[in-house]
Symmetry: C2
Subunit: 466 residues, 2 copies
Amino acid sequence: MSHAVIHDVLAGRYAEGETVTVKGWVRTKRDSKAGISFVAVHDGSCFDAVQAVVPAELSNYENEVKRLTTACSVIVTGTIARSEGKGQQFEIQATEVEVVGWVENPDTYPMAPKRHSMEYLREFAHLRPRTNINGAVTRVRNCLAQAIHRFFHERGFNWISTPIITASDSEGAGEMFRVSTLDLENLPRTEQGKVDYSQDFFAKETFLTVSGQLNVESFCCALSKVYTFGPTFRAENSNTSRHLAEFWMIEPEVAFADLADIAQLAEDMLKYVFQAVLTERADDMAFFAERVDQDAIQRLQKMIDSSFVRMDYTDAIEILKSSGKTFNYPVEWGIDLQSEHERYLAEEHVGAPVILQNYPKDIKAFYMRLNDDGKTVAAMDVLAPGIGEIIGGSQREERLDNLDQRLLDMGLDKEDYGWYRDLRRFGTVPHSGFGLGFERLVSYVTGIGNVRDVIAFPRTPGSADF
Amino acid sequence: MSHAVIHDVLAGRYAEGETVTVKGWVRTKRDSKAGISFVAVHDGSCFDAVQAVVPAELSNYENEVKRLTTACSVIVTGTIARSEGKGQQFEIQATEVEVVGWVENPDTYPMAPKRHSMEYLREFAHLRPRTNINGAVTRVRNCLAQAIHRFFHERGFNWISTPIITASDSEGAGEMFRVSTLDLENLPRTEQGKVDYSQDFFAKETFLTVSGQLNVESFCCALSKVYTFGPTFRAENSNTSRHLAEFWMIEPEVAFADLADIAQLAEDMLKYVFQAVLTERADDMAFFAERVDQDAIQRLQKMIDSSFVRMDYTDAIEILKSSGKTFNYPVEWGIDLQSEHERYLAEEHVGAPVILQNYPKDIKAFYMRLNDDGKTVAAMDVLAPGIGEIIGGSQREERLDNLDQRLLDMGLDKEDYGWYRDLRRFGTVPHSGFGLGFERLVSYVTGIGNVRDVIAFPRTPGSADF
């Protein structure tokens, strides 16, 4: 691995005249009439390729260099020079070009250098990382993930890997996938003729988790500041640009924190990761602003510079009612806000991110803390201009009596929540947390509208390829 | 959240005489005859609790403070003072103690302060984070995870979230869990009477992944340096201290890297994360050395200070044969080494970590690169004293012809590996990677022998509680 990273070459970390070797793939090649080829080589370390200027004098110039096509892998050795063309500051005057791997039938290579639709690229999820757009998405996604871990680590949080396979439907949050090793062609049966799950791998019915929240609360009630960052699953037949059957979630949980604390944490976290991406991935963000969404950079900068406005749900309903707007879904206290409502509030009424708080208890989960009014719970959603809800969180009900009443009201069996109730029986504390869907964050940051294009291998109804 | 973190109090970040508020849980309480109570309060931010000295003058002293038991949650306000006793340097002279949450029936509280067996603690996985040992494990686990992300990020790697749900049995690496939304009581059937998976959620049979390697190779062949860090699954009926049905894996993959490069990366990574844990979690490591495994700290320090010895499998076989030792499994060229062999090599013969290389092809996976001898493949295992294999990796077969031959030899259908073969058809490059089981790493670092005790909620045959 004693070769130069292309990012370092372009950043000027090698002196003019210094000999370097780079290893990567041909992005484009152009032959001049003067008998020189310009080969752009990328290695994924940054958005740009480095230009290798290849003279006809090389022994394999006619036989190999001139036959290079996009995606051929090469090892280029040469000296660093100032580039006279526009674009990069540095280029490589090649003294040797070794072709490592050719491209079979270049004319039909699926990632040939032209503009492909996002739908087309999805069919080649194993090759699309080689495109400009998917390479940029991958680097930005990584940058966001690293920034999230760093943000929490710097603040004394412990990352907890909550279980993926679970026997409980944590919150009735959605349809679940079954996990089983039973032979479906030959299912074991009980005496009553039902499927005998006692013979399944875990000796009971098990599913893929929809959220790590309840589990991570048990660590919060011991280590104070914790978070999850892992995959979660919804077996919903939702074919929309915002839904995946498998997606990654970040769920922090903080002891002795109330709703205001956790709202502040959400605001701080978003600003932190947006700043990280603008600083560390300026090259990729410039590409998104140029080719995907003009507003990509300004949108993040504006989020960083703005104060998120806190607003009560009840006030928001009044604002929506007196807005003079006609919504597809009529506005009445008690409704679950739709995207059109959320976006009106954030984009038109406030013109900045809004943290909406204190929702009617009947539209929220059992674990959210009942407010003194008896009608609302200490829940909050962060609504961002251009996307709507990006984070949802709440203060958790830490009072056992209230929790039991909520379980009862919602038709849930408190026996199923025995261990969760224990957290309230033994040294209960006020605590709060939120959930952030990672793909929605990447989609928001890059401006790429469909979450299928910001995860490596998307899983959606009818599709689990690769 | 405007309270002091106990770690900061103990580290002397507050001046003597300064008023602070801490929030946490009672670890222990002792009442002196002089009418003072000593309440040790922890909040998970570090191993130690801070001692609050509570005078009888407080209005709730008799009614509340004296009734405090382990795990009650409290908010203590007071002034920082030098501690005269041994142990901590600083303590809090309490001026106010607010009891936030009591413990129901303290006499039967499952985590009462006495020594519990690890088996017992496992039955209370939701409460065990409150114990000294599980709190320490959680912090060390977090430290290791953060260090791993940092190590790769600093070296220009991109974290890739490879899919959890997969339609392919990546390498025949082990039994898999089925993922399905079919109604098992009412299975759809094809005309031939078989289960009709075309009606399942993904319109085909799907499983939980056993490894992200094949998927991450596609990103490696575009972005050069990538890694996974995510959950993987084995539906094996293995009731051992080293097996979990659900565990986390780290799988880096590097383009243009050969076996020697990836062996070096493995050595560098282990040393980096061991150093991080010794530096950042000295408190927890001291506890492990005192209570779990005397050798816990020295073992890591020795790994950091030693050069890992490279050894060929073929040489290792000779060494084992001429060792004069009687092994349970006889030694012959071609065998898969057992733990007894690995530990002899690392612990007795070398006395340092060994990187064993170039294994017989017949005992290794199809994707490993065939060596020129035609008999061995460029595989490597890192063997650590005290545990045996901790990392396994290889250079991947980048030559399409060889890959196809290996698939054929192993009875695999190359049609099932169409997209994987594409990576060799279009700009193939030499590349290498390894896999590290995260729980085995945490087990090795802490000295805790059973991987069930180093993951939040272990999943094993017959057990998926919480």
